[in-house]
Subunit: 127 residues, 2 copies
């Protein structure tokens, strides 16, 4: 194989860019929300609590650009736009699901660890 090794530990490795995409807050949630089937823009917005219209649009555009989501416009009045995971998007959904499950499973442990860590700190800001 003559392709350069995909080593994310190197600054300029393209897989860094991929990880950066995953890195943003909303990508994981959007992909998760679409895992049950296509949804309209407004349905996504309703399902994902706290996302702004701007961020939802931005995230969806990025996913579309990466070929992970398709955007279908139904020429009606009022317009209807549906988003759906592509084949590649579905494959992403699997590792993300694993991550989400890990988060759900270990969340209590982590929260406890945080409290202990914070409790052991010198009491700053307590005059």
């Amino acid at each position: 194989m003559d392709r350069p090794p995909a080593d994310p530990y190197q600054r300029d490795c393209p897989s860094r860019q991929v990880l950066d995409r995953i890195g943003d807050r909303w990508t994981v949630l959007v992909v998760g929300a679409l895992s049950d089937g296509p949804l309209r823009f407004s349905q996504l917005a309703a399902r994902i609590d706290g996302v702004s219209q701007k961020m939802l649009t931005q995230t969806l555009r990025a996913l579309e650009r990466d070929g992970l989501v398709t955007r279908t416009i139904y020429p009606q009045v009022p317009p209807r736009v549906e988003y759906e995971l592509t084949e590649a998007g579905v494959t992403l959904q699997e590792p993300l699901q694993a991550l989400e499950n890990w988060a759900k499973t270990h969340m209590p442990t982590i929260l406890t660890a945080r409290q202990q860590y914070d409790a052991a700190l010198p009491a700053v800001n307590t005059p």
Copy 2:
């Protein structure tokens, strides 16, 4: 079970915080770098290309706070500090590995999709 459902789609769900931690650029890489065994601070810095001292410290502190990494100081001159994944940290390493593999596998496809998407755009900034 009387614990509230861990639904990341709700704004105030604690698992959002967990996903946010994963979300930062360096956590994934640090955990990956530690998967082969404990490393010193300088070794981590050398291994992860592009990370600043500040960010490495910050990431390690966050991981330590969450109980995913232990920090061991060997009282010597000059000092030596080693970081190692905890049991919980090792369990995280697994889903992250899956994500990293996904990134490596689908990176070429994504890069191609991006080029096509960008090429299809109206030529902005070309007066």
